[in-house]
């Protein structure tokens, strides 16, 4: 027996957006779909705030000397850009929005395991963001998002509120991860076996493991820095026998796995997108599923590659370098599988697919430079230069944000029941991808020429490439703004999409779009895997309109 098709008369209740009305009903909602939408609003706001800081930074760097701000403001601004983008957008965005919205729909559950804790995570996000932003208004932090000691314990700027904010955001991240792990273990509908789990759920599961196991370490470490600042405990202070390098170890023990908190959900999103728009099953389902766990596992043993120049022993550096390359191995498994999935597929070039192509290119480019950086002898040359900046922006912006946009376009009709303007979407996608290249390829070159990151001014010979990078950033900013505008417009004027405009066979599309307040009138029972396009017709999809 297959689940009730979306057009089934069993679905006749109001959708989750209309079921109850009023601001109060949103603020106290336990519905995972509404919580997903709340995360969408909050993280997109943060993204644009962080983006404005990025543009201001790029404008400052248009000339070698002072342009629009003084050096101290510049330091505060790159810190805020990093803190906002990482803690308020990259880490919570895909899990908070798509994880919350789609994991229950994909596994045939009525909600996540702990709906109240889920709502709590939104409020932890709000509280953490409010405290961090308050700290920024109180004078801001100039330590960079990494809060390296002893600078972070001695600078005159306001560090403690930002640390506390990040700590609270971390708690929100932990409970989200915990919730997803328990949900996937206990709430799968009959027929949704582990080997039929949609690949997005696999990726989110691996992400959640990292969130639960790594974030407490960051939380405690940030509290120690705050204690040190406020009370002078001396844990990281060399004058009192403390060891600042201990901070680096503890910080990266979280913060390196954290980059996989940012990229694994993205890999999950594109796994769904590539199957839908190639109309093919995943070429190697198990390989893609288990490589997510592989990345999550090996990600815990690579933090030392941030300490190549911190006096770490050469042997340890070598080991950490080789372990880091394993991440490339698991990533390559995924890349080959995505590529092979497209082979002989009936590819439909639409906005989500264009973003998927962008993702693939940026991930491979960024990933290969990552392998280069994990080679100790090369890293000593590139350490703390723009080469590193360009590398992680390729993965984070080029990878995660492309996948975020792919998922946002792919699931937009599912979430809101409306289609966006495909023409504008394609134009914006091209603009974003071109703008991204123009921004960060010059930064690879600058880094290789020796321009250090986080510097306020630079020698004359770096000027042309910096101008190119800023020009690219403005294209990128324009592209994101266009996306925001046509998506908001589509909420009012968009064509009604029907339950399944892409004819996707992902499990989540077996419900009306937008879904009803109660996900399923009766527990769905699945007798086939998600995205089985080749194995005979799927009746429920053809009936949908």
């Amino acid at each position: 027996m297959s689940p009730s098709p979306a057009s089934s008369p069993a679905y006749q209740t109001p959708n989750y957006l209309n079921a109850v009305k009023g601001v109060g009903s949103w603020l106290t909602t336990l519905d995972h779909k509404r919580i997903g939408v709340m995360y969408l609003v909050l993280t997109v706001l943060s993204f644009f705030l962080g983006g404005v800081f990025a543009l201001l930074l790029r404008i400052e760097l248009v000339t070698p000397g002072p342009t629009i701000m003084d050096a101290m403001t510049y330091n505060r601004m790159f810190t805020l850009h990093g803190v906002i983008m990482i803690f308020l957008f990259m880490i919570p965005a895909i899990p908070g929005i798509f994880g919350n919205f789609f994991i229950p729909l994909m596994i045939g559950a009525q909600d996540v395991a702990f709906p109240r804790i889920n709502l709590l995570s939104v409020y932890l996000y709000l509280a953490g963001a409010a405290i961090a932003v308050w700290g920024m208004i109180q004078g801001g932090t100039d330590t960079g998002w990494t809060f390296y000691t002893p600078y972070s314990t001695t600078t005159v700027t306001t560090v403690a509120p930002v640390l506390l904010g990040a700590f609270i955001l971390g708690m929100g991240s932990i409970v989200t991860g915990l919730n997803f792990i328990v949900t996937v273990h206990t709430m799968r509908a009959p027929g949704v076996t582990w080997m039929r789990l949609p690949l997005f759920v696999w990726a989110m599961y691996a992400t959640s493991v990292i969130q639960v196991l790594a974030t407490p370490v960051l939380g405690m470490t940030l509290l120690l820095v705050a204690f040190e600042r406020v009370f002078g405990f001396g844990i990281f202070d060399p004058a009192r026998g403390g060891d600042p390098i201990l901070f680096q170890h503890l910080f990266w023990f979280y913060s390196h796995p954290a980059v996989y908190i940012m990229i694994l959900p993205a890999m999950g999103v594109v796994s769904e997108v590539v199957q839908t728009f190639s109309r093919k099953n995943m070429f190697g389902y198990k390989a893609v599923a288990f490589s997510s766990l592989g990345i999550a596992f090996v990600g815990f043993f690579v933090w030392g590659h941030h300490l190549f120049t911190s006096g770490q022993s050469t042997f340890a550096s070598g080991v950490f370098g080789v372990l880091s390359m394993f991440v490339g191995l698991f990533t390559a498994i995924k890349v080959f599988n995505w590529t092979a999935t497209m082979y002989q597929g009936a590819i439909q070039v639409s906005a989500p697919f264009v973003y998927f192509m962008g993702f693939l290119y940026f991930l491979v480019f960024g990933g290969l430079t990552g392998i280069a950086l994990s080679t100790v002898s090369l890293d000593v040359h590139w350490q703390d230069t723009y080469f590193v900046v360009a590398h992680f922006h390729f993965i984070m912006v080029g990878g995660t944000i492309m996948a975020f946009l792919a998922g946002l376009h792919y699931w937009w009709p599912k979430m809101f029941g409306r289609m966006y303007s495909e023409r504008w979407a394609l134009a914006a996608a091209v603009l974003v991808i071109v703008g991204f290249n123009a921004t960060f390829i010059p930064q690879f070159l600058l880094g290789n020429m020796g321009m250090p990151r986080r510097y306020y001014s630079y020698p004359e010979q770096f000027w042309p490439l910096n101008v190119a990078s800023t020009a690219g950033a403005s294209l990128l900013g324009l592209g994101f703004t266009i996306v925001l505008v046509y998506l908001v417009v589509s909420l009012v004027k968009g064509r009604v999409s029907g339950p399944n405009p892409w004819n996707s066979r992902g499990y989540e599309w077996n419900t009306p779009s937008p879904p009803e307040a109660q996900n399923f009138p009766e527990t769905p029972v699945h007798d086939r895997g998600p995205h089985e396009y080749q194995d005979g017709p799927a009746a429920e999809v053809k009936h949908a309109h």
Binding site: A109, Q110, D111, V112, A113, F114, P115, I117, I174, L178, N179, I181, V182, T183, H185, T186, M187, V212, L213, A214, T215, P216, V217, G219, M220, T221, L224, F227, E228, F231, G232, F233, G234, I235, D237, R240, G241, G242, D243, L246, L250, T523
Partner: protein
Amino acid sequence: MHTEAAAAPSRLAHHFPDMKTQEHAARMGMWLFLSTEILLFAVLFTAYALYRFLFPVGFEEASRLAHVAMGATNTVVLITSSLTVALAIHYARQGENRKVVGLLAVTILFGVTFMVLKGFEYHHHWVDGQLPGRFYSYSGLQGPGVSMYFALYFLMTGLHGLHVLIGMGLLGWVAWRATRNEFGPGYSTPVELSGLYWHLVDLIWIFLFPLLYLL
């Protein structure tokens, strides 16, 4: 008084198919949460290991200043409280709610005893100026690593004490529910889960005591 049959359906949340699944989820969530607690403390244990290695003499001498008698008493108190909590879980499963209330009350009293003794220890250290980092002013012992020992001592026992307080709150809430006869053969998860939390708090102390008082 509720009968089991009347009360059970209301405890099933709308999104779970049955009580068995719901309790499985709750138990799993608790174990995952406990693993995050261990990782939270792991940072401090790592720092302890590093600084013990860097300042073996300073740490050894400073740990002689810890009040071993009170610490040892507290160890006995906490281990005994683990027994009373385990018994409470046993009786909750049998539906003997009055015994659950009594045993949890005893457990909470043990918790209070622990915190009072801990308070005396803190008071002595405070009076003697045996304090973390820049507040350290004890003339009887100076030297590298000594103030670091007290930074870690206060951070580790402070965080642990906070957990004892939270645990007492949890057990108090569960005891209140037991006064309403809520637990029985079909439903005892809250007692079990808060008991698990209490055991973890004990377990952490069992590591803290030798590291900070005896070594």
